[in-house]
Amino acid sequence: MSIQEQYRKKAAELLSSGEVKLVIGYGAGTTPDRRRPLFVRSADETSKLHLDAACEANLSGYLVTEGLLADRKKVGIFLGPEGIRSVNILASESQLDPDQIVIMGFNREAESVSALEGSNVRDFPAMLAALKEQAPGAGEQALVERIENMTPEERFTFWQAEFEKCIKCYACRQVCPMCYCRRCIVDNNQPQWVQTSSHTLGNFEWNLVRAFHLSGRCVECGGCDRACPVNIPLRLINRRMAMEVLDAYDHFSGMSPDQETVLASFKKDDPETFIL
């Protein structure tokens, strides 16, 4: 049985037994190589679910839809490794109860998709540990290093050119499962820390704030990068910040629902070399 069949069947079982009230998965998109999110509420709709290499989006963001989990009922969801990591973060930041989430996990490798063993977010420690050890993709790393090797002036020019394009549509924020705040800092106009018009200064402010708010939290699902209508390489920023927290604090985001928030927590023996 293909994984798609297997998960359609599982979703039908979960729904008809009443174990979950909803399954969040992928449905057909406008073209065969595109999939869009699908909310399935009854067993007979499960045949509309798809699962293949085109299922790119990290669906975990839908879990924090206002009120969705308030009735304490369970929700089933199709999640790749990044999605599992973001559920861990959402749980560690008290945005959801991980035991309300029934995971149908999958792994994408090139053109094929395989099932991940387990259904609770705590069932995947080995997979996550392996992910932490795994070296990042070579192509991506090369790009990061190219930017790293620039002089500060070159780097500034590079990002200036990129950020100049930003139109402040906030699609990157909207798609990100980690951007769940009811009021984002950019929406605060008393005071207006981040300029809302799309000029270079405001664009810099926005993108820097975003990078900082996501460091140690981003799971590198690539959602923002794909969402950006003007193709700013947001994944490079995320990658760089992930390297930084891994280096400095040995922190790989989304390892478990009990993981500490890296930039809020401190230990008594933290080296404080930066304090004069």
Binding site: E93, C181, R182, R183, I185, T261, L263, S265, F266
Partner: protein, 656 residues
């Protein structure tokens, strides 16, 4: 409409020499919202303050900016002046144009421009300031003193004699600290234990002092007036309530060859022991590591020997929580291990010893009953070489600072040696003789002139063994000649360093320390016994190397601070605390994790039918210290700090 008064202080020449105050004044006159601006030679003086008050009253000011020295100096002064003139004191801001401007710049033109910017930015801030009311908190009238050396004992006694409760915590089995180990003390040569033990007994018997020996501080929470401290009472395996201190158990213990820490490893002790004969309390402890019963389950000889059944091998560590209003830290020092001087042979040659070991040899209650004998063969040394600064004032191998007491105790050692070993010859290698103190220089002169110690100014390069002698090679820089002395014993005046756990302990109690681990005072000159954490004070050698007179003086100073604090029922606290916007808070608990004072609580927001809508952060105003950590963390910008709100800071920045 804002009506702001700006007061530009010349601070004599301190500000006026570098800043064109007339130009600053006219720039402020033109600034929107400024109703009145004045300059004056010293606004902190009485007439200066009167001017401020008058201007507030006459112009009905809604806020003032004093452009002067650091707010650390006179913020309180001007806030008070505001209050007296009927203006809420939190509507006063200080523009620091001295420390941050006139003192650090030489170009008058640019310094003036900077002063204009600084003052303007604070005008913009003060326009958005709100009236704040101080927060009142109760004071728990009980002090915790940590460390039962002479400093801790003195502080505890002084506080207790003023009628306040004290809990005195010592981690060793007995009170006493280093002073209990000393033989005689400079500059009077009175017997250390003779002057120490009455204090120990007094502390133990004092009705206001609760003594907890063999106990350690596990955790400190809270703030001035309201600390909660968790203490671990380590298991002694001897019931303190019933034990009479007869010592039968100590006599019978078959383990007799354990190196005695109190005697600096020059003597031996059993596994059940009191550190020294006059120990307070005089109740033994079992050294679990070395006890035969704990090692292999058989023995219990001590339990059989005890006539009243005090020994309990099942005893466990106990934890107690206490509430105190103030903490005195008096955790003392240790002497530095001299292993880094391989050339001096400490640890290699048994007759190369430390000054503290010499104290034990010279002490009447020490392992040799006060006779100076070489550890190797028990012979009386005919020649002794003392090496000062063995670690101190040596940035390359030891520590940079002067350990302050070694010049004095080396003189004392040379004297004691001369008194005890007639005809013995003492040589002292020194860098400088630092004997500042009442009767101190006279004391060192006595060692040289009456007791004929030979003082050689220079360093020792090597110590080695030859024909049963310790050969000491050094240089006498006054003669410009190398010297070689055949000695029977070498005594190293090792550096005084912080306790081995000083840095970690600083974190447990929440105070700062220097690169070595000596605890930081709030201000080296003006607030030497306070720490930067309100309500925590420092006494004795934990702050810097100190002798007994200095330790005792500092301890009494601490006591006066504590008694002063306890003279009030309630404390006024700055109303600078965090507040949360519950509408925008997303309940991520970043602030909850980040707050170093545990001030954030989780609050349920319910709808009318009592159903949970969401949980948000709530700041407990009693616990919040206004550090602002949560503010910097909060991604949704929900938490804000009264007195330093985002709006105020933003205006301040934009005012630049």
């Amino acid at each position: 409409m804002a009506k702001i008064g700006v007061f530009i202080c010349h601070c004599g020449e301190n500000i006026a020499a570098r800043i064109d105050c007339a130009r600053l004044l006219s720039a402020m006159d033109d600034h929107p919202g400024v109703s009145v601006s004045l300059d004056y030679k010293y606004f902190c003086s009485d007439p200066g303050q009167e001017n401020v008050k008058k201007a507030i009253r006459e112009n009905n000011l809604t806020g003032i900016v004093v452009a002067a020295c650091s707010p650390r100096m006179h913020e309180a002064t001007f806030r008070k002046a505001c209050a007296e003139a009927g203006l809420n004191p939190y509507l006063c801001e200080i523009a620091n144009i001295r420390e941050q401007c006139s003192w650090v710049h030489s170009d008058r033109e640019k310094a003036t421009e900077k002063a204009i910017d600084i003052t303007r930015s604070l005008i913009e801030k003060v326009k958005r300031n709100n009236e704040l009311q101080p927060i009142e908190v109760p004071v728990t009238r009980k002090a915790l003193v940590i460390g039962g050396g002479i400093a801790g004992i003195q502080a505890a006694l002084d506080i207790a004699n003023a009628g306040q409760e004290v809990v005195l915590v010592e981690r060793e089995p007995s009170l006493g600290g280093h002073m209990a180990q000393l033989s005689e003390t400079f500059p009077t040569l009175d017997c250390s234990q003779c002057i120490m033990t009455p204090r120990m007994v007094e502390a133990a018997q004092h009705p206001k002092i609760e003594l907890l020996t063999y106990s350690e501080i596990e955790q400190v929470d809270g703030f001035i007036g309201n600390f909660t401290v968790k203490i671990r009472k380590k298991a002694r395996y001897v019931d303190m309530k019933t034990c009479t201190g007869c010592g039968d158990c100590i006599q019978k213990c078959p383990q007799k060859k354990i190196s005695d820490e109190f005697d600096c490893n020059l003597g031996k002790r059993p596994a059940i022991y009191t550190p020294f004969a006059q120990a307070v309390p005089n109740i033994p402890v079992i050294d679990k590591e070395n006890c035969t019963y704990f090692k292999n389950g058989k023995c219990r000889v001590c339990a059989k020997a005890c006539p009243i059944d005090c020994i309990n091998f099942e005893m466990q560590d106990e934890f107690v929580d206490i509430e105190v209003g103030a903490i005195v830290v008096a955790t003392g020092f240790q002497i530095q291990n001299t292993a880094m001087y391989g050339e001096y042979g400490y640890g290699k040659y048994p007759d190369v010893i430390t000054g503290l070991q010499f104290e034990r040899l010279a002490s009447a209650s020490g392992p040799t009953a006060g006779k100076i004998m070489r550890p190797s063969d028990g012979k009386e040394p005919e020649t002794v070489v003392f090496i000062q600064c063995a670690g101190s004032r040596d940035p390359s191998k030891g520590v940079k600072y002067c350990s302050k007491i070694c010049c004095m105790y080396t003189s004392k050692h040379a004297m004691l040696y001369a008194h005890k070993v007639h005809g013995g010859k003492a040589h002292v290698f020194y860098m400088d003789i630092r004997a500042a103190g009442k009767g101190y220089d006279e004391f060192t002169r006595r060692a040289i002139e009456e007791d004929e110690a030979s003082y050689l100014r220079g360093r020792v390069s090597k110590v080695w063994q030859e024909n049963g002698k310790l050969m000491v090679r050094g240089v006498d820089t006054l003669l410009g000649k190398p010297v070689e002395i055949a000695a029977d014993m070498v005594v190293l005046a090792t550096a005084i360093t912080p306790q081995p756990d000083a840095k970690e302990f600083a974190k447990v109690i929440g105070i700062g320390c220097d690169e070595y681990g000596f605890y930081n005072e709030a201000h080296l000159k003006l607030r030497p016994v306070e720490t930067a954490t309100a309500g925590i004070y420092l006494a004795g050698a934990c702050q810097s190397p100190k002798d007994i007179p200095d330790s005792v003086a500092q301890a009494s100073a601490c006591a006066s601070k504590v008694i002063g604090l306890f003279s009030r029922d309630r404390l006024e606290r700055e109303p600078v605390i965090a507040m949360n916007n519950e509408a925008t808070c997303s309940g991520c608990w970043g602030c909850f994790v980040a707050c170093p004072y545990g001030a954030i609580e989780k609050k349920d927001i319910l709808n009318r039918s009592g159903e949970l809508i969401k949980r948000v952060a709530f700041v407990n105003p009693g616990l919040c210290q206004g550090c602002g950590t949560c503010v910097t963390f909060c991604r949704s910008n929900s938490i804000d700090l009264a007195g330093f709100t985002e709006k105020q800071i933003f205006a301040e920045v934009m005012g630049l």
